[in-house]
């Protein structure tokens, strides 16, 4: 299933999210099960299936990491549900350091400025990965797709870091 086709969008990492949301609402309305209240059993079933597909597609394209994974899947490289281990030592060292910084925040004299600093560092680092990722996703070469997969894995670690930072921040507010 090509979700970009489903939503009549060009297959690209950069998606107009407002347009995506608009297409989502249009599609949802068109296949809403209420419209099929008097339809045949088969048509009812189809409308339920179609609704599920539209919801899955919307969730996939809305999330940048899942969107990138979907683009790769369309190129023939399936990443979701993989249990591949990342072995980039330098990258992982940096991850460790950041995890340590997150632990330290609660002992800090000025946690707010440290949180703000980490937010910035995470964002900049993730942005750089995304910049590297984009051309790889539109390439026709398999080697580039493998590299794209590695960048997507790194983005997942960055998403985890951002979640953890939010958690630390919430804990400080309690």
């Amino acid at each position: 299933m090509n979700y970009f086709e489903l939503f009549s969008l060009l297959p690209s990492y950069d998606v107009d999210t407002a347009l995506l949301a608009e297409r989502y609402r249009e599609l949802q309305r068109a296949v809403h099960p209420d419209k099929f209240a008097n339809a045949s059993e088969q048509d009812k079933r189809l409308s339920v299936q179609r609704t599920a597909q539209i919801n899955d597609g919307f969730q996939t394209l809305k999330n940048p990491i899942q969107r990138a994974e979907h683009l790769l899947a369309l190129k023939g490289l399936e990443l979701s549900h993989e249990s591949t281990t990342l072995k980039d030592t330098q990258f992982l060292m940096q991850q460790m350091e950041w995890r340590e910084s997150l632990e330290e925040i609660k002992h800090s004299d000025d946690p707010d400025s440290e949180i703000a600093e980490l937010y910035d560092s995470f964002e900049q680092y993730a942005k750089q990965i995304t910049t590297d990722l984009k051309p790889l996703l539109v390439s026709e070469f398999e080697a580039d797709h493998l590299q794209a997969a590695e960048q997507i894995r790194k983005l997942k670690f960055m998403a985890k870091l951002q979640d953890e930072l939010t958690r630390v921040e919430d804990a400080l507010l309690d």
Binding site: T89, Q95, M96, R153
Partner: protein
Amino acid sequence: MAYSEKVIDHYENPRNVGSFDKNDPSVVTGMVGAPACGDVMKLQLRIDDNGIIEDAKFKTYGCGSAIASSSLVTEWVKGKTVEEARAIKNTDIAEELALPPVKIHCSILAEDAIKAALEEYKTKQTK
């Protein structure tokens, strides 16, 4: 999710947490990460001239199963030869800790950490 008693034991009393001096020539480091959950694991081994693992330390950011898997591995590799350590399989770890299927990747990560550390050992040997 219910953790097994062994996982809880390792999680609450992790063995061999910490780091060795990475400039020590007898120390090798394995760094691995699991993208699916963002777990990061560092395993360090101190290997003597006869290829016997004298000591091991770990540091893991992750769930209870990931911490337990790496803690268990540090206990297992101590006193083993490099070859014996290389033979440790994730299934052994998962079985010992009674990991549920959704946590098998934690044991895979621990096995890969040993492999990564021993990879550095091999590189150092051939230098």
